[in-house]
C-alpha cells in the first residue's frame, strides 16, 4: 500500500508467499518477453520504415532453425510454469490432519460459519494465527465462492455437495472475505471479514461467545428428533446399518461395489437413500430431501463424523 493505492496484496497465509513467488516469476518473465517483443517490433518499425537507409539485402534468417528453437523454448518454459503451479495446487487437497474444523454455509446473500465449539457467526470468521483451519463449505441455494485475497485461496460452495478449503493464517489482522462467484442481486454485498487473532485472544473470544452447542451436538439432537435413531440406534427393532465409526469406512453395496463413506456418500444416503444401498439391508429408509435444509444437513454430517474416533484426513469432498 502506498498512498492508499493497492499495488501488491497483503500476504497473510502460509500459502500466500508460495503463490506470490510463482506470480512474480511469471510477472518478470512476461515483462521481459513482452517488452523484448515490443522493443523488437518498435525497433523494426523505426529501422525499416519506408525511405530509411537500412540494409535490406541478404538472406532472411534460417527460418526452420529459428522456428524450431522458439517452439521448443516456449514448450519448456510452459511446462516449468505448469509444474510449479500444479505442485502448489495439489496441496489444496491435503489439509493437515490436526486442522481446526469450521463449517461455512453460503446463502443469498451471506456467509454463516460455525466454530468447532458451535459458536455461530454471520459474515465474520475468527481464526487463530498459526493453526491450520479447514472450512467445509456448502450452499443453501446457488453457487457461491469463498475468497480471501490475503490468503490467496478461493473455493466454490456448490449446492448438493461439500467442498473444502484450508489455510494457515500467518498475520493477525482483519482481511476481506468475498463471494467470488456471481450469485444474484446482492452478490457484491455478500462479503465480510476474516479476523486472525493470537491463539490466546482467539480462546478468550470463543469464551465470550457463550456456550454455543457444538455442531455435532446439534446434529445428535436432530438425529433423534428426525427419528433416525429409531432405526439406526443400537436397540432398534428395524434392521438398519449401525453408524458407529461410519465416516471414512468402506461400505459394501448390494451391487457388489464398495464405496468409502465420505461426505458425499453420507449426504446422498440421507437425501437419496435408494441410490446406494448397503449390502444385506432392505431399501426401507425414506428420503429426507426437502425435510431438512443445508444447515441441518451439515449438523447431521458433523454428528456422523463425530461417531468415528478420528476424522480421516484428506478425505475427498
Amino acid at each position: 500500500m502506498s498512498f492508499g493505492v493497492p499495488f501488491f496484496p497483503q500476504e497473510a497465509s502460509s500459502e500466500a508467499g508460495h503463490v506470490d513467488a510463482l506470480f512474480y516469476t511469471l510477472l518478470i518473465f512476461s515483462a521481459v518477453l513482452g517488452l523484448t517483443l515490443t522493443g523488437l517490433v518498435v525497433g523494426y518499425a523505426v529501422k525499416y520504415r519506408v525511405g530509411s537507409k537500412a540494409d535490406r539485402t541478404g538472406q532472411r534468417s534460417r527460418t526452420m532453425w529459428l522456428e524450431m528453437s522458439w517452439t521448443v523454448a516456449s514448450l519448456i518454459i510452459a511446462f516449468i510454469f505448469f509444474g510449479w503451479g500444479a505442485v502448489l495446487f495439489v496441496r489444496r487437497d491435503h489439509p493437515p490432519a490436526d486442522a481446526l474444523e469450521i463449517t461455512g454455509l453460503g446463502k443469498q446473500w451471506m456467509w454463516e460459519f460455525r466454530q468447532p465449539g458451535g459458536q455461530r457467526e454471520i459474515n465474520e470468521l475468527h481464526v487463530p494465527v498459526g493453526k491450520p483451519v479447514v472450512v467445509s463449505l456448502a450452499s443453501q441455494d446457488v453457487i457461491h465462492s469463498f475468497y480471501v485475497p490475503a490468503f490467496r485461496i478461493k473455493q466454490d460452495a456448490v449446492p448438493g455437495r461439500t467442498t473444502r478449503i484450508w489455510f494457515i493464517a500467518t498475520e493477525p489482522g482483519r482481511y476481506h472475505l468475498f463471494c467470488a462467484q456471481y450469485c444474484g442481486t446482492q452478490h457484491s454485498e455478500m462479503s465480510g471479514w476474516v479476523t486472525v487473532m493470537a491463539p490466546e485472544q482467539y480462546a478468550s473470544w470463543l469464551n465470550g461467545q457463550g456456550e454455543g452447542e457444538t455442531l455435532a451436538a446439534s446434529g445428535e439432537k436432530l438425529f433423534r428428533a428426525l427419528g433416525c435413531s429409531g432405526c439406526h440406534g443400537a436397540s432398534s427393532k428395524v434392521r438398519a446399518p449401525s453408524l458407529d465409526g461410519i465416516f471414512g469406512r468402506p461400505v459394501a453395496l448390494d451391487n457388489q461395489q464398495t464405496v468409502i463413506a465420505d461426505e458425499r456418500y453420507l449426504r446422498d444416503s440421507i437425501l437419496n437413500p435408494k441410490k446406494e444401498i448397503a449390502a444385506g439391508y432392505e431399501p426401507v429408509m425414506p428420503s429426507f430431501d426437502g425435510l431438512i435444509d443445508e444447515g441441518e444437513l451439515q449438523m447431521l454430517l458433523a454428528y456422523l463424523k463425530s461417531l468415528s474416533p478420528r476424522p480421516t484426513a484428506g478425505a475427498k469432498p
Binding site: A45, V50, G160, H187, S188
Partner: protein, 547 residues
C-alpha cells in the same frame, strides 16, 4: 451511393430495400451483417460505459444492483453472441472469402442469406429480453442461479442465443464447403491467404462446438418444464455438469472469436511491411492446432469449482499447450517486419496495436493457466482484463484493422487517413487506460461482477472508468469518418495498398460476380518480395476503375 460510378459494381445492382433484403450476393449479405453488428456493438458498448461510470465510486449510486447485474449480463450476451462470434466471419468473411479464393460467391448463397435472417430472428429475442426487463444471470447462465433463482427473462435470452447458434453453424458449413470446392485454379491449400485458413479453422469449431451449446440450453428447458433432474441437485442433478457443457462450447467459442482476427492481422502486416509473412506454414498450422487444442481446455474455467484436483492438473497442462501456437504466431508476425519497407497507414497502426495488446493479453493467460495463481485471480478483474485484452484489444482491434484495410474494396471510397490514424491511437490509449488497471484490481483481489466495492479499490477503478470514456470516443470516431467517406470519400483505386491477394485484382467495388474472367493463381500468398508484382498480376479491368 447510387451514382454513375457504381454502375457495373455490386453496389449498383438495385438500390431498393427489396434488392438488399432478398440479395444472395455474399457482398451484400456482408453489409447486412455489418449494419446489424454495428448496432449491437454500440448497444453493448453503451452498457459497458454505464457500468464503468457506476464503478467510478465504491458505492452503488448511479444504478441499483438489479440494474447493474442486468447491464453486465446483457453486455456479455450481446458482445459475445451478437457481435464477437459473427463479427469478422459475418462481415469481412462473407465479403472476402469468395474474392480471396477467386470464386463468384459462397458455395450456398441462399443459405448465407438465411443465416443472416436466423441471426436477426434470434437477436430479436435478445432485444426483447432487454426491453422487457433484462436478464441477471451473467452471460454464463450458471445453474442453479439461472434455472431456479434468476428473476429476469432468462429463457427468452437463452432461446435467442440458441437460435443464433444455428446462424453460426450455417455460416461455418458454408465456409468449409466453399474453401474445399471453389478455389481458383492454381490456388492450392498452401497458397491460401492466412485469413482463409483462419476462417476455415474457425468454421470447423463453429460446426463442432455450437451444437453442444444448443444441447445444454435444451437440457435447461427439459429440467424447467418437465422436472427432469439434470443440473438441479434437489432432483438428483449436478450444477457442475452445466459448467462442463457450457465451457465445452464457450471455450472453443473464444477461438471462434479470435482466429479470424489473427487472419486479418496476417494480411495487413505483410502488406504494409512489403514482406512475405514470416513462417507461413507455421502460422497456417498453428491456426489448426488452436482449433483442435481449443476443445480440450474447457476445465480451466473450473479449477476452484469443486472439480477434482487432478482434472484441474490435466486441464492446466493442456491450457499451457494451447498457448504455444499463439506464441508461435506472435513471433512470426514480429519477424515479418524485419527488412521490410514499413509504412503506417491506419490498418497497419491497428494491426501493430493488435500485436501489442494480444501479446500482453496472452501472457496474462499464462498466469491463469498456472493452477495456484488461478486460484487467487479466478473470478476477479484479472480475468476481465485478460479476456478484454484478447477480445477487445485483440479481436476488436483486428476487426478495425480489417475494416479499414478492406473499406476501399467494400465501398469504392477512401476515408480520411488522418482521422483513421487519430482514431486508432485514441483507441489504443483508451484501451490500455481502461483495462490495464483491471489487472491491478484483480491481483489485489477485487472480484468481478461487483456493483459496489471496498473503497481502497477506487483509484484503479477511476482510471479504468476514465479510460472507458476515451475508448468510447476512439470507437465512435470511425462511425463518423467512415460514414462520411461512404458519400464524400475520394474514389478508391482497385488496389490502393498495392497488396497481393485476389480480392485486390478486381475492381473497387467488385462487380456482382466478382471477376470478369476466372483468375489463375501462380504464386504463393504474400509474394511481396517478388519483382514486377504490379504488372504481372491479374487485373480484369483496372483501366475502367473510376478515378
Amino acid at each position: 451511393m447510387s451514382n454513375a460510378a457504381m454502375q457495373g459494381t455490386y453496389l449498383g445492382e438495385g438500390s431498393g430495400l427489396r434488392a438488399w433484403l432478398l440479395t444472395t450476393d455474399h457482398k451484400r449479405v456482408a453489409w447486412l451483417y455489418l449494419i446489424s453488428l454495428t448496432v449491437f456493438f454500440f448497444l453493448g458498448g453503451a452498457m459497458a460505459v454505464l457500468m464503468r461510470i457506476e464503478l467510478a465510486t465504491p458505492a452503488g449510486d448511479l444504478v441499483s444492483d438489479d440494474v447493474y447485474n442486468r447491464l453486465f449480463s446483457l453486455h456479455g450476451i450481446i458482445m459475445v453472441w451478437f457481435f464477437l462470434v459473427p463479427s469478422i466471419p459475418g462481415t469481412m468473411g462473407n465479403f472476402l472469402l469468395p474474392l480471396m479464393i477467386g470464386a463468384r460467391d459462397l458455395a450456398f448463397p441462399r443459405l448465407n442469406l438465411a443465416s443472416w435472417y436466423v441471426f436477426i430472428f434470434g437477436s430479436l429475442f435478445a432485444l426483447f429480453a432487454v426491453v422487457a426487463g433484462g436478464v441477471d444471470t451473467g452471460w454464463t447462465f450458471y445453474t442453479p442461479l439461472s434455472t431456479l433463482y434468476a428473476n429476469g427473462f432468462v429463457s427468452t435470452a437463452a432461446f435467442g442465443v440458441f437460435i443464433v447458434g444455428f446462424s453460426t453453424i450455417m455460416t461455418g458449413i458454408n465456409f468449409i464447403v466453399t474453401v474445399h470446392t471453389l478455389r481458383a485454379p492454381g490456388l492450392t491449400w498452401f497458397r491460401l491467404p492466412i485469413f482463409v485458413w483462419t476462417l476455415y479453422a474457425t468454421s470447423l469449431v463453429m460446426v463442432l462446438a455450437t451444437p453442444v451449446l444448443a444441447a445444454s440450453l435444451i437440457l435447461i428447458v427439459l429440467e424447467r418444464v418437465f422436472g427432469i433432474g439434470i443440473f438441479n441437485p434437489d432432483l438428483g442433478g449436478d450444477p457442475l455438469l452445466f459448467q462442463h457443457l457450457f465451457w465445452f462450447y464457450s471455450h472453443p467459442a473464444v477461438y471462434i472469436m479470435i482466429l479470424p482476427g489473427m487472419g486479418v492481422v496476417s494480411e495487413v502486416l505483410p502488406c504494409f511491411s512489403r514482406r512475405p509473412l514470416f513462417g507461413y506454414k507455421a502460422v497456417a498450422m498453428s491456426s489448426m492446432a488452436i482449433a483442435v487444442f481449443g476443445f480440450l481446455v474447457w476445465g480451466h474455467h473450473m479449477f476452484v469449482s469443486g472439480q477434482s484436483a487432478y482434472a484441474g492438473v490435466v486441464f492446466s497442462f493442456l491450457s499451457f499447450c494451447v498457448a504455444i501456437p499463439s506464441a508461435i504466431k506472435v513471433f512470426n508476425w514480429s519477424l515479418t517486419l524485419r527488412k521490410g519497407e514499413i509504412s503506417f497507414e491506419t490498418p497497419m497502426l491497428y494491426a501493430l496495436f493488435f500485436l501489442g495488446l494480444f501479446t500482453f493479453g496472452g501472457l496474462a493467460g499464462l498466469f491463469l493457466a498456472a493452477l495456484a495463481v488461478d486460484v487467487h485471480v479466478h473470478d476477479t478483474y484479472f480475468v476481465i482484463a485478460h479476456f478484454h485484452y484478447i477480445m477487445v484489444g485483440g479481436m476488436v482491434t483486428a476487426y478495425m484493422a480489417g475494416l479499414h484495410f478492406w473499406w476501399p474494396k467494400l465501398t469504392g471510397r477512401m476515408y480520411s487517413e488522418t482521422a483513421g490514424r487519430i482514431a486508432a491511437t485514441v483507441t489504443f490509449v483508451g484501451f490500455n487506460l481502461t483495462f490495464f488497471p483491471q489487472y491491478m484490481l484483480g491481483f489485489n483481489g477485487m472480484p468481478r461482477r461487483y456493483h459496489t466495492y471496498p473503497p481502497e479499490f477506487q483509484f484503479w477503478n477511476v482510471l479504468s472508468s476514465a479510460g472507458a470514456v476515451v475508448l468510447a470516443i476512439g470507437y465512435l470516431m470511425p462511425l463518423f469518418y467512415l460514414g462520411w467517406s461512404l458519400f464524400r470519400g475520394a474514389r478508391a483505386p482497385d488496389n490502393p495498398w498495392n497488396a497481393t491477394g485476389l480480392e485486390w485484382q478486381t475492381s473497387s467495388p467488385p462487380p456482382p460476380y466478382n471477376f470478369e474472367t476466372m483468375p489463375v493463381v501462380t504464386r504463393p500468398a504474400y509474394a511481396y518480395d517478388m519483382k514486377g508484382l504490379e504488372h504481372e498480376s491479374f487485373s480484369p479491368h483496372r483501366e475502367e476503375a473510376a478515378r
